[in-house]
């Protein structure tokens, strides 16, 4: 096991990338510390699979290097990198039994038969595959196949990293939850670095210690779930994480104070704002907005009940601001005002947080 670092990495699937959009991965340097549980979170097409394939060696990056510990592995093929990867679409070897499928990665590496058997049975038990071991893999249901796929990634001990590319897509929600907690449990037990790709925020937040958020080929933020929630470094993170997502409102800045709709908005931390940015916004999560006696005047346009709280859509001019009101709290009548919690209100310049 070792730390994995991606240095000045950039990748394009095109021969001669011209514009910014030609790069599937824009220049990035990311370190994955040893033994971490990471979630790689981002919308479809943002480059998650590309990044995994570069780490595993299935793809050679157009630019930059991949290091495992003190070894540069950029040009080393996957089978020599000692990594495990579970793919987005289940892959099973049809002609083999479930047992043989799980043995395959171990046997290929010449591991003694007794160890293979022990390891395979252990993983089969964990994935609830014991009964199916002697069956032919081709006859299994979709989730059975996905479990085999997952199992083949897990049987090898001592790998540098195990990467899961949305491994539970075709599995039904309950089993999904069970398997995810088993993975988490396994991580705590064996302490191998794990990278779990998903575009589902709940999945990411429950699995990972550190969440890596990607957007259009860029890593926009790496942080704990709390970081992502309280201090989204990019408006995209604000939108993408949390439901409903962060409110992003246009603003102007005068003498270090942001103004929204002509009113000053107090912001907790000092603003190191440099002139010349195109687009200035303030971001504040619905959780950190409350009704107040004075502040920004709004008109309530919609209230939706979401269980322990209500989501209120409040309108100021052309802007709709969402806020959460705990269950049981009454809504103000006409002439409502809202207040942003200064400690959780950030200023964004061109999408990036200013601090």
């Amino acid at each position: 096991m070792s730390e994995i670092s991606l240095r000045e990495l950039r990748h394009s699937y095109l021969e001669t990338p011209q514009t910014d959009a030609d790069w599937a991965l824009k220049k990035m340097s990311v370190d994955w510390s040893e033994g971490g549980a990471y979630a790689l979170l981002g919308p479809s097409g943002c480059g998650k699979t590309t990044l995994l394939n570069i780490i595993s060696g299935l793809l050679t990056p157009t630019e930059g290097e991949v290091w495992f510990g003190d070894r540069n592995v950029t040009d080393i093929p996957p089978d020599q990198r000692n990594i495990a990867q579970v793919f987005q679409f289940p892959v099973v070897y049809d002609t083999m039994t479930v047992y043989e499928n799980l043995c395959f990665p171990l046997r290929n590496r010449g591991i003694p038969a007794a160890d293979v058997d022990r390891k395979v049975r252990e993983i089969a038990t964990m994935l609830d595959l014991d009964e199916m071991l002697p069956r032919r893999a081709s006859g299994l249901t979709a989730d059975g196949k996905q479990k085999i796929s997952l199992g083949r990634g897990l049987v090898r001990s001592d790998v540098n990293v195990i990467m899961f590319d949305e491994p539970l897509t075709v599995i039904d929600p309950h089993l999904k939850w069970v398997l995810r907690s088993k993975l988490k449990e396994l991580h705590q037990r064996i302490g191998t670095t794990m990278i779990y790709v998903t575009h589902d925020q709940t999945e990411a937040l429950t699995f990972a210690d550190q969440v890596v958020v990607m957007h259009e080929g860029t890593v926009v933020q790496i942080g704990t779930p709390v970081d992502l929630f309280e201090r989204p470094r990019h408006t995209f993170v604000g939108h993408f994480i949390g439901s409903p997502g962060m409110n992003v409102l246009p603003c102007e800045i005068e003498n270090g104070t942001p103004f929204f709709a002509g009113r000053p908005v107090p912001v907790g931390h000092s603003i190191a704002y440099r002139d010349g940015t195109e687009r200035l916004e303030i971001g504040v999560r619905p959780e950190f907005i409350s009704f107040a006696a004075d502040g920004i005047p709004v008109e309530i346009v919609k209230v939706s009940d979401a269980g322990r709280y209500s989501i209120v859509d409040a309108r100021h001019g052309a802007h709709v601001i969402k806020l959460l009101v705990p269950e049981g709290e009454s809504l103000p009548a006409d002439g409502a005002h809202i207040h942003f919690d200064p400690g959780h209100t950030q200023v964004y310049a061109d999408g990036w947080m200013v601090n």
Partner: protein, 288 residues
């Protein structure tokens, strides 16, 4: 279980096909059956003979010899064409302009009429003026396919391989192209050797198309006529007289319509039987 909708009108739509099949298969077949149990000396006068012709054919050494030759020929070309076709398909490029170039090159032999193939190879292999014939003789090997049975067999087999391996290649290639990339990626991560990739990914995925390829090649080669007829005319002697050539000799050469008809039916049943056995075996394996 889903309930089936019954609609007797559907039979109406099948009728044209039934009529067509009756005209181009059933009725000709029945004439053959008709000939196979009777003796005729022309003038549409027939005498009932029962199973006499069938017994005669089944006991004839000549028939045994042609059948044996036929079986040998078919087995030889299958053992060459199937592995060779798979090997070529495996080494064909997966993307780029190379793909279309290869596909066109592969399709070419399939587009040439059979008698032309026979004529081409006849000239190509002539020991005195043919390119192949001259070359082999130039290597110091005595080669004359019109006189040596071995050379005749060699040339016939080569011709068939040249003509039909492409079919196996195209089918196998189609099978290979249907394998998602993820399988190869998983195999790389699992540390599979190229042989294991072939054995556990490519071969299983090609099985269906290969079954079809083998069946087609089996039936076709078992009924081969035009090419060897043009190339060797069944010679030297009878050494390349396969079943269909023999059949034509009996029917049209000697005008023994009764035995020829009986032989056709036996021939037909053999093909049918072998196909059935073969198909059943393949499907049983599939089901496991």
């Amino acid at each position: 279980m889903a309930t089936k909708t019954q609609n007797p009108k559907a039979w109406l739509f099948v009728l044209p096909v039934v009529a067509l099949v009756a005209f181009n298969a059933l009725i000709p077949l029945m004439t053959v059956v008709n000939y196979s149990v009777q003796e005729t000396f022309g003038d549409n006068v027939f005498f009932w003979e029962g199973v006499k012709w069938f017994e005669q054919v089944l006991h004839s050494e000549r028939f045994h010899a042609s059948l044996l030759r036929q079986l040998m020929f078919t087995s030889i070309i299958l053992t060459i064409e199937v592995p060779l076709g798979v090997a070529i398909a495996l080494s064909m490029p997966k993307k780029g302009v190379g793909v279309s170039v290869c596909l066109v090159l592969m399709a070419l032999p399939l587009l040439i009429p059979w008698n032309v193939v026979g004529a081409m190879w006849n000239i190509f292999a002539l020991p005195d003026i043919g390119l192949l014939g001259r070359m082999i003789n130039g290597l110091g090997i005595d080669y004359n396919f019109t006189q040596q049975p071995g050379a005749a067999w060699f040339t016939t087999v080569m011709m068939d391989v040249w003509h039909w391996t492409s079919l196996v290649v195209l089918l196998a290639y189609a099978g290979l192209r249907s394998i998602p990339d993820a399988y190869y990626q998983a195999a790389k991560i699992d540390g599979a050797t190229p042989w294991a990739v072939f054995r556990f990914i490519q071969l299983p995925k090609m099985k269906r198309v290969l079954t079809i390829a083998i069946l087609l090649r089996f039936m076709d080669s078992f009924m081969i006529y035009t090419e060897p007829f043009v190339l060797t005319g069944g010679g030297p002697g009878n050494t390349t007289t396969f079943l269909s050539i023999d059949l034509v000799k009996i029917a049209l050469g000697q005008f023994d319509l009764g035995p020829a008809a009986a032989m056709s039916l036996i021939y037909f049943l053999i093909v049918l039987l072998l196909c059935w056995i073969f198909y059943t075996l393949m499907m049983r394996h599939e089901a496991q």
